[in-house]
Structures are given as structure tokens and as C-alpha cells.
Symmetry: C2
Subunit: 337 residues, 2 copies
DNA sequence: TCTGGCACTCTGTGTTCCCGAGTGCCAAGT
DNA sequence: ACTTGGCACTCGGGAACACAGAGTGCCAGA
């Protein structure tokens, strides 16, 4: 059905089209790649490829352009992820190592990725639900107010101000804090609800109502922040890649956290690359857009995802290489800090 | 030199051009605005206005377009800031009031502003240097590590992990924390360095080296974060406003925090509007862009700035109204939380 | 000082025309 | 059974051209 040469032709079409951004014809192919056959033969193969939906011609008498299906085949079977150069690796390493806190790690990562791929990069903050509690702090601020601060093992900090209905002495707060910490230390965030449920029993009667207030806010924080924060960079690259359709749509999608979230996709194993090509992705505004994403995490747990978004005619091998590399390095950095 | 009618003509030109995005001619002006004179008269006035550089014709036989200088005159003398409608005010209020923490306030503000003005909105996080210390927390995390958390009166939280060279018992930490807090509570962040300088004297000899480590990190945090964080939204609006030049340049500028910072400009009094028109602004990539910015803050201190960025041919009265209103509301929200 | 009239100057748009790249098909060669 | 060269055909895009319409500047008269 699709012999080796036809596949080679498809690969050549994808590569040429990606680099020139113009429909590629049989003659050009015969010249630039040494396939060892004449243009006429290539034409026959092209006809077959078109028949099966891998390529497509914009109008009669133009060259061929890969379809989404064609890119898919290319990504799955015809290309190899291209590793970064040594220089690039070192650059990444030193650049990321200079970050002082989680915000900065994320910020640097997203910029790095955008620069490396010359596309729009998206990074999701390390997930709350998959991380563990490192510390809980309850800080009095003002009369009947406390601030609840939750610190996770990924360095993420969540804080909330809570209004209390009664005055509470410092030492009672301190006690509550101590109890909370012994209970929750190292506890996976997804286990917090059940762990917390049995906690009031360990407290003196008088503190229970206060504790209830605080705990409910704690739980609320976990739920609300379940939908993760996203950051993106490199939108200027969109202007360069003259988008066939709706640069506007793309920009809109980028500001819709929810859409973006879904685009990064579900987990597929750590550092496993997910590629969504054009119409494969669930958002109509992004017909002409592909997403290359990967999970990252420290140790063996996936904490969150990152990826890039660009025109379907992107250089997949290079992009995939960059995404994978960055995902790994971020994982290392997070594990080490 | 410029009598009343000529000014009226300029105003009419700006208004028409803003709404139609096409060079406006003498006849159209005479029709749409009742200036009480004939097209021929208007032509004479236009010639005078052009003579003095307020308007300009793209080519010999086209209508006129305002120059930056023309917009400037319009903003300064010919227009009034247009207040928001009651419905809009209420919408803002309820939308902002729903925010639970500083991140969310900023996020909502920037989106709101983008939506209201249909332009790109930029919001600067409330400045560290102008706010005061509400609480300092030192939290042990792991063996020889503590986390320093600084909470400001604007609800901003800065945290840093610090590695210590020696083991330090909990109670010594607690003591240090207590001393720090009594010293710094309510202290303006810009005064922290001097206040902190005399602090070691109050501590027992044995704690001084630990304190020094921690304090140096504290100071470092203040300095590093002096360059403020910025957030923007509404880039999709750029695609709609078909930019005369370089959408790319604009996107690039947006990702350059430093540039953006400067664009928001220096303080000009609380809720005082700053308008920068086209070539008035210091960045060449933004020739065709205007910025409308204002400071916001709680009480009478300006904490940070916010604004919008759009094509020079924007609706200044409306935009200015929106920016001013949002700045005020954010100030209120911050003061109240 | 304003106004109507008039000649003039452009740009943008539509039309036509043609070149060339690229195709599909066919018949001949291996 | 493939592959190849040849050939007629198609169609998009650029160049050349004409033209209508909007807008101007200027001038003479009210």
C-alpha cells in the first residue's frame, strides 16, 4: 500500500514544505533529495499519497502540501526526535540553574522554551495535587485575622487571609499550627482532605470551631487551585510565522486558561512527548496549530506539563527535542531545590 | 492662530478617524458634524492645521489623518474623559470584589481592563518598596534550612529558602522571628535596610551569625524584587486593530518587562492619567502605539501602575475613563482587604 | 471672510493578458 | 510490472492598463 519509496517521498515533502513554506512539486523533490527516480515516478507516488489523504494540493497545478494526517505519519514513523547540541544543553542548564524560586524557574523555563523553538511556549505550574505538604503556617495578622500559608515540596506557596469570629490567643494558634504540621507533614495534597477530617478530635474542645474555619479554607484552597496556573511566552514568534488562519484565534486561545490546559493534554508518562496536530486538537480556533507537550516532574512523579504551540508546519524533530530536553532539565532543577 | 472653529475641525477629524479608520475629507466632515460652514471653508482650515503639523495627508488626494501632535492637542484640550456607565461601574465592582488573593486581584484587573477597553492591558504588581511589612515568618523546612516569608500590607508574599551553616534549635528561630517582627511590623519596606542594620545588637551573641545570613537574604529579596512584576492580557485585541506597523514589534515589547515598565511611566500623582502618544514614547518599536496609564494605590500612596496599550488611533476619552475607573476600584479593593 | 465652481491629482479596483510551474496521462522502454 | 520522457492542459499570480471616485487647491464672486 505504502512502500518505502512513497514514505520517503512523504518525508521529503514534509521536510521541504516545512523549510520553504511553499507547496512542493515533483521536480523540486527530485532535485533536492536524491531519491534515485525521475519526477514522473514521484508524481505517481504523490498521486497515491494524495489518494490516501496524506497530502493535498491547494489548487490544480500547484505543488503538494502535507495534510494533518501526513504530518501525523511523519511524526509517528518517519522522523526521529533531534537531540539538542551540547552547547544548547549547557546553555539550558546554566540558565535554569540561576533561578532562585519557583516563580523564577517557571518564568525562565517558558522563555527558554520559546527562544529555543521560536514558537509560543506554555508552562504549567507544578501541580498542587501531586505534590506534598512541606509546611503549614498560620500567622496572625491584625485583630481577628490570620493568614494561612501552605508550602509544598515543589516550593509553591499558597496563602489566604481568614477572618475569625472570635479572638484567639497566640499560643492557641501556635498549638494549632503544631498539630497541623505533625499531621500533614509530607502528606500528599490529594490526601489532605481525609487526613484533616479526623484532626479536630485531637484538639481541645475550645479550639475546634476555629480549627474548622481554618481547615475549611485550607480545603477550599486545594480545590480552587486544582485548576492550575499557566504561563506563556514567545507570542512575538506568532507574528513571524505568518499564520494561515487567525492569529487572532490563537491569541484568544492562549488567554483561555481552560482551553490551554486541555491542550497540554493528559499525562502520558514522564517526559513522554504528546503531539497534537492541527485538527486533532479539540479547539476549533486552532485548526492550523500543532502542540508538542511533555510532562515534567522531580523523581518519578509528573508534577505538571509544558509545551509549545506553533503552526502545523513546524519542524517537529527539533521542536520535540527541545521540549523533551527542557522538560527533563526542569525536572532535575525542581528535584534539586 | 488656531481659532475655535479650527479646533472644532481638528476634534471632528480625530473623532471621525478613530471611528472609521479612514482618512477623513472635507465633505464628510461637513455632512457628519454640523459645523455650520461649507466644505470649502473646512478645506481652508484643514490647510492651516496641516501647515502647523496637527494633521497630515497620506497622499495628495486623500483625506486627512491626525498626527501625533494632533492627538496630543485633542487629548489635552479638546476632549473630556468619559466616565463609565453605571452598569459598567457595578460590573467592575462585583467582578473585582470576588477575588480572594493578590494574584487573583491582579489577574482579574488586567482582564477587566482588556475587556473594557478592547486593547492590551498591563498591570504592575503592587510595589514592594512602597508597601509596609505586615509580618515576617521564619519557617524551618528540613535539617538546616529555613524558609523566609515576607508578607506585606498589600497581601503580597515573598518567600525564599535559606541554607544555614549550623543547626539551629526551634526556639532560637522563634526568638529571632519575634524580634524581627517587633522591629519591622508596619515598617515601610524602603526603611527595612536601616531598621535591620541595628538589629543584631538586640540578639544574643550566639544567634548573630544566623541572623546575619537570614537578614542578608531578606535584603536581597527586597532589592531583586525591586524590578516589579508585570502582567498583561488582551493581546487578541491586537489582531483586531489592524496595526499599521509591526504587530510583531508590539508583541516583543510586551515581553520585555523592562520596556513595559518604562512605558507605564513614572508616577504622576494617584489616579492621575498619563498618556503617551506614538512617537512620544521612548521605544522605537512602538511608533504606532499609544499608552494610557494611571497609578493606583490604597489610601494616598501610589503602589503601582496600570494601563492599556493600543494603536494611536484609539478612543482616548473612553479609554482614559476606563483606566481611571479601574485604577480607583483596584485601590479601594486593596485598601479593604 | 465664506462659498460655489472647476480643474487636477491621486489611489484603489477591476480587467485583461500572459508566463510558468506543476499536473495527469499515455506510450515506449527496461 | 515499474519507470520514464513527452505532451497537452490547468490555473494562480504578477504586470500592464484603464477608470471611477474622492479629495484637494485655487480663484472669483457674494
Amino acid at each position: 500500500m505504502l512502500d518505502d519509496r512513497k514514505l520517503a517521498v512523504l518525508r521529503a515533502i514534509v521536510e521541504d514544505y516545512v523549510s520553504t513554506n511553499e507547496p512542493v512539486g515533483s521536480k523540486a523533490l527530485a532535485d533536492r533529495h536524491n531519491l534515485g527516480v525521475s519526477p514522473a515516478t514521484i508524481r505517481n507516488d504523490m498521486a497515491a499519497l494524495e489518494e490516501q489523504g496524506y497530502i493535498h494540493q491547494p489548487h490544480t497545478s500547484a505543488g503538494r502540501v502535507p495534510t494533518d494526517k501526513g504530518y501525523r505519519l511523519f511524526v509517528d514513523r518517519l522522523s526521529q526526535v533531534k537531540p539538542l547540541s551540547g552547547a544548547e544543553r549547557r546553555a539550558i542548564e546554566t540558565f535554569l540553574a540561576g533561578a532562585v524560586d519557583l516563580d523564577e524557574i517557571v518564568m525562565r523555563t517558558v522563555r527558554l522554551l520559546a527562544q529555543l523553538t521560536r514558537q509560543v511556549a506554555v508552562v504549567q505550574y507544578p501541580s498542587l495535587t501531586r505534590s506534598t505538604v512541606r509546611h503549614v503556617e498560620i500567622v496572625p495578622v491584625g485583630e481577628r485575622r490570620v493568614m494561612l500559608v501552605l508550602i509544598t515540596n515543589t516550593g509553591r506557596v499558597e496563602q489566604r487571609v481568614i477572618d475569625l469570629v472570635e479572638d484567639v490567643a497566640e499560643d492557641r494558634i501556635a498549638n494549632l499550627r503544631a498539630v497541623l504540621n505533625t499531621c500533614l507533614d509530607g502528606c500528599g495534597l490529594s490526601n489532605v482532605p481525609e487526613t484533616v477530617a479526623e484532626l479536630p478530635e485531637r484538639l481541645p474542645q475550645e479550639d475546634r470551631s476555629v480549627a474548622a474555619t481554618i481547615l475549611s479554607v485550607l480545603l477550599e484552597t486545594l480545590v480552587e487551585r486544582h485548576e492550575e496556573k499557566l504561563v506563556f511566552a514567545g507570542t512575538a514568534n506568532l507574528a513571524a510565522a505568518d499564520f494561515s488562519v487567525g492569529l487572532r484565534d490563537v491569541l484568544e486561545a492562549l488567554e483561555e486558561q481552560v482551553v490551554l490546559m486541555r491542550l497540554l493534554g493528559e499525562t502520558g508518562g514522564l517526559s513522554e512527548l504528546t503531539v497534537r496536530i492541527g485538527s486533532e486538537n479539540p479547539y476549533t480556533g486552532l485548526r492550523g496549530t500543532s502542540i508538542v507537550a511533555a510532562g515534567y516532574g522531580s523523581g518519578d512523579k509528573e508534577l505538571a506539563r509544558l509545551g509549545v504551540l506553533g503552526p502545523t508546519r513546524m519542524d517537529y524533530p527539533v521542536t520535540m527535542g527541545a521540549v523533551r530536553a527542557v522538560a527533563r532539565y526542569v525536572g532535575q532543577i525542581l528535584a534539586g531545590s
